[in-house]
């Protein structure tokens, strides 16, 4: 039915050959010189300033920064919700101008699932709304995607009967069923309790192992960034500017807490809080 659901182990391959990316290879997503601003009632807030990064196919790219550094706004700009005031965002060479089903977003909030649709209908909704599949195909793909996040028993349940972790799994299934070019995740596990969050991170990595999607992941947790990502873009406090790009493809759950892991975590921590003079943030939103 679709190639994405065939099992391969991409994570091992990526770990074994970290620098396999030839410089001639074209990035899937090219963000260059992007400044994002948004208006609040009284201010024009600059969320991030002249940010550059490239994202290659199969990467798990993490945007990391303190809250209020504009990483969510940057993600929304990639999603097409916030047009950048300068710079360009290109996906497969095409400029991003509006939201679209080729960039599926998973939000932090649990109310991202329309409550009037069952789990299955929720996963089918974007497939049908974007005209990507017929009803029959959509149902088939939805059930397959629900099975990959281990929610088959809840296909006909309404979202309000699910726990927070299950809702996020539905949101991930909904995004994966669309087979998007890139999966945008806006602090998807931040509202979960610590144990569930850890489990969800592991499940996400397992999914990536089998499906090998490309992902842009926003978080403010250094540990989450190191475990979940292959490469981290460290952003300075408000407004967000690029401080560093750090490789972390070598780390996973098993190596969390190892001396190497701790050293990189320390390094990132130092980068984030080097100029830790708290400035009053005009907007407040991250």
């Amino acid at each position: 039915m679709n190639a994405l659901f065939s099992p391969t182990t991409l994570r091992d391959a990526a770990t074994a050959a970290p620098n396999a990316l030839a410089s001639s290879e074209v990035p899937l997503l090219d963000v260059s010189g992007v400044t994002v601003q948004y208006k609040t009632r009284a201010h024009l807030v600059t969320a991030c300033h002249r940010v550059d990064f490239q994202l290659y196919k199969g990467e798990r790219y993490v945007l990391l920064g303190p809250s209020g550094c504009g990483k969510s706004s940057l993600l929304k700009a990639v999603g097409g919700f916030l047009p950048p005031v300068e710079g360009s965002i290109r996906l497969n060479g095409q400029p991003v101008t509006r939201p679209g089903p080729d960039r599926m977003m998973v939000f932090q909030e649990f109310d991202q699932l329309p409550p009037w649709k069952t789990v299955k209908q929720n996963v089918m909704f974007p497939l049908l709304a974007s005209g990507k599949a017929t009803r029959r195909q959509a149902e088939e793909r939805a059930l397959a995607a629900i099975a990959t996040v281990n929610l088959s028993g809840f296909a006909d349940a309404h979202p309000h009967t699910l726990s927070g972790g299950m809702k996020q799994r539905v949101a991930i299934a909904r995004a994966l069923a669309m087979e998007p070019d890139i999966l945008l995740m806006d602090e998807p596990f931040a509202a979960l309790d610590a144990l569930t969050r850890r489990k969800m991170q592991d499940e996400l990595l397992q999914l990536w192992d089998t499906l090998g999607f490309t992902m842009l992941f926003v978080t403010h947790s250094i540990e989450e960034a190191l475990v979940v990502g292959t490469r981290i873009l460290v952003l300075s406090p408000h407004p967000g500017r690029v401080k560093a790009e750090i490789n972390c493809h070598a780390f996973d759950r098993a190596s969390a807490g190892s001396p190497d892991f701790q050293a990189v975590a320390q390094r990132i921590h130092a980068l984030l809080f080097a100029d830790a003079v708290e400035q009053p943030v005009a907007g407040g939103a991250s």
Binding site: P115, H160, T161
Partner: protein, 303 residues
């Protein structure tokens, strides 16, 4: 003060309580069966008092008994007939005076006005969410017309459309449109940003966005608007019918009440009022309850 006590604590550690270091414990969790029955069936009395309908029925019977007693004590059937006289007049009206047909005449006019108003409200609010000028238009119109009682427009409607169902429909549309539009718009603006972004992420725009995302997401408030609109319409219709019936003195529950008052059949006046109440209750408890159970309750949007 705090500094002092802290300093003291540092100097004299004997003042600090020393909790004992106790051995660690690990246990096998006992089977739940030891605790006893996890659930106990409720007694018959507990189950009966748990039924809201039954409790309300008991209240209704009490009110009816009170009415009967007061009417018997007053003993003036021309002014205040007993409950039983009203009940028999109601049965007689249904059997002989075609009360049901009259009620249906009223209801069909009402449904027509209601449907037109719903369509207009959807169009107006769609306009309001898609353009800023539409938003301004809706806000201005609702704040102007919502406080204006529909019945106050009746003289004007009679002047324009004559004594007939068109005048009634006009007044009904006015009664339903503004509260419904107000609620629908409030519902649309309350839809969370996340859900909006999810919808736009799917590539939904324009009328499809309103129809497949905004309307269901705002359905709890829309339903409230529909209920308020229904109550307004029903009241307005009965009041308008008191003036000239449904079409120049024919049919309608309001007309039934008005005529019987003229002929001093007070028990029938009461029977007409009871019919108005009964139909209102039926629609509220059957139609709207049913919609509510199938939609917002099933979706967990309302408890």
């Amino acid at each position: 003060m705090t500094d002092l006590s802290l300093a003291n604590a540092a100097v004299a550690p004997s003042r600090r309580a020393n909790p004992p270091v106790r051995p660690e414990v690990e246990r096998a969790v006992s089977a739940a069966g030891v605790i006893g029955d996890a659930a106990r069936p409720l007694s018959l009395w507990e189950r009966l008092t748990g039924v809201a309908l039954l409790r309300r029925l008991v209240l209704l019977v009490a009110v009816a008994a009170l009415w009967q007693g007061a009417a018997l004590w007053q003993n003036n059937p021309l002014m205040f007939p007993t409950f039983t006289a009203m009940a028999s007049a109601l049965v007689e009206a249904v059997l002989r005076d075609d009360l049901l047909t009259m009620a249906w005449v009223s209801l069909s006019v009402l449904l027509k006005g209601y449907a037109i108003a719903v369509a207009l409200a959807v169009a107006l609010t769609t306009l309001a969410v898609s353009t800023r000028i539409g938003d301004d238009l809706l806000s201005t119109l609702t704040s102007m017309f919502n406080p204006l009682p529909a019945i106050a427009l009746l003289p004007l409607a009679m002047l324009w459309f004559g004594l007939g169902s068109i005048s009634l429909t006009f007044v009904l549309v006015h009664a339903v449109l503004w509260p419904l539009a107000l609620n629908t718009h409030a519902g649309f603006t309350a839809v969370s940003d996340t859900l909006r972004m999810a919808g736009r992420n799917y590539g939904l725009t324009g009328p499809r966005y309103v129809l497949t995302l905004l309307i269901p997401a705002a359905f709890p408030t829309i339903l409230t608007g529909l209920k308020v609109g229904w109550a307004f319409a029903w009241r307005t219709l009965i009041a308008a019918e008191l003036v000239f019936g449904v079409s120049s003195g024919k049919g309608g529950l309001g007309w039934f009440i008005f005529q019987n008052r003229n002929e001093l059949y007070t028990d029938k006046v009461f029977a007409g009022l009871a019919a108005v109440i009964l139909i209102g209750l039926l629609v509220e408890n059957l139609v709207f309850r049913w919609i509510e159970a199938r939609t917002v309750r099933a979706w967990g949007m309302v408890r």
